[in-house]
Structures are given as C-alpha cells and as structure tokens.
C-alpha cells in the first residue's frame, strides 16, 4: 500500500508521471522505498532544502505507522 501511495503522491506533482517507479526494499536499514523519477523531475521531488522529500517521507511514514526511508533517484537513461 505504501508503494502505491508514494507512487500516487509523486505522480501528481511531477511533469513525467509515467516515468515514476517505486520499489520496496527490506534491507539492514529497515524498510526503504526506492523512487525513480525522470531526471527533469528530480529537483521537484526533492524540493528547496529537501522540503518535498521530507514531506513525502513524513506522509509515507504516517501511512505505514512507523518511520520508513524514501530514497529519491533519477531513472536510468
């Protein structure tokens, strides 16, 4: 559910929604969601001083009811 929620939240704010891919990783740092966006959208999803990235993490953690990591990456060319 968190991956779907993140995908929806991010698709709604970027210019290239069809390039948004979210994958779930359960690693040693706990539950992490890896988000790939079009290179032109990376600035938008991070935001000024990381504000948007923080908002995404805050909402995703609230939905998961525990702290989770969200990694924002540029999609491979």
């Amino acid at each position: 559910m968190i991956d779907e929620a993140l995908e929806h939240l991010i698709k709604g704010i970027v210019d290239h929604p069809s390039d948004v891919v979210v994958s779930e990783k359960n690693g040693r740092r706990g539950l992490t969601y890896e988000v790939r966006v079009h290179p032109e959208d990376i600035g938008k999803v991070i935001g000024r001083a990381g504000r948007t990235a923080k908002a995404l993490r805050t909402v995703a953690s609230a939905l998961a009811r525990r702290p989770i990591r969200v990694d924002l990456l540029e999609a491979d060319e």
Partner: protein
C-alpha cells in the same frame, strides 16, 4: 486563467486538491469525506473520517506535509501557485480557537503592563492566526527569528 473569477479559480483548486487526496485515502483504505470550501480568498479542504489522526501527526507535521504536496499537485494542474489550506479531523479549527484565546490573554497582559510580550516559536499558520487576532484586538505584532524558531512579539499600542 485571468478571465476566470477568483472564486471559480479557487473552486477549481479545491476540486483538484480533493481529487488528489481522495485517491490517496482510497489507496490507504481510509474512510474520509472531503469538504471543499473557499475561505479568506483561499481554497479550503477539510477531511473528516474519524480515524485519521495519524494523518495529522504530532503538532500537525503530517498535515503540513500533506498540504504541501496537495498544493504542488494543484499547481501542476492549474499552472498557478496554490495557497490551499487543508484541515483534517478539525485540527486546524481547534488550533485556531486555542491560538485566538492565547492572543486575547496576551493582548490583555500587554495592554495592562505596557510591555511587549514574546510568544513561543510557531509555524506560519499559527503566526498568521495570532497576527490577525492581535490586529483585531487593536494591538500590533511582529515576527522575529528564523524558521523554525520564528516567534511573535506582541507590542503595546
């Protein structure tokens, strides 16, 4: 866009924001009704569901984050910056009442003593409520300090 009336534009903002949030509630399987309104020249959305307190968070940080994302989603659709306000389970409405009461007691204290009083640091929404209330009470106030420690000083008339 400029031909459209302000109200029509704000209603459209509210509709777009509500669509974004409604889809999120569906994905998370959370029940909630979204009320769309226009208040003080801003689109205002209020979600009431009964079990959404985790979407408010301590001190409302989750609510602020959701509002920020909703504004961005609206801006992408309309091409214009949005100042939409979001409330969940009446959190902001209740907070406003508390802040107005604080403004009243502080104004009384300042009027009596003639000395300015500094309040604790508050976020932009909280400061706006205090500034508006202090103005209505016939005093003036200023914000000082840097975010997130920015705070209001209530000044004697």
């Amino acid at each position: 866009m400029s031909e459209k009336s302000l109200i029509a534009r704000l209603e459209e903002e509210g509709d777009r924001g509500a669509d974004y949030l409604e889809a999120l509630l569906d994905i998370a399987d959370l029940p909630g009704d979204i009320d769309i309104d226009v208040e003080n020249d801003r689109a205002a959305l209020a979600i009431v569901g009964g079990e959404l307190t985790h979407l408010i968070g301590d001190e409302g940080q989750v609510l602020e984050a959701l509002q920020e994302l909703t504004r961005m989603a609206v801006q992408r659709e309309t091409g214009e910056r949005s100042r939409l306000m979001l409330d969940i389970e009446g959190f902001r409405a209740k907070k406003k009442d508390e802040l107005r009461a604080l403004a009243e007691s502080t104004a009384e204290e300042v009027k009596k003593s003639g000395v300015s009083v500094a309040l604790k640091p508050m976020n932009a929404f909280e400061r706006k409520v205090i500034h508006d209330a202090i103005g209505e009470l016939g005093l003036s106030s200023e914000s000082e300090g840097e975010e997130p420690e920015r705070y209001i000083v209530v000044l004697p008339a």
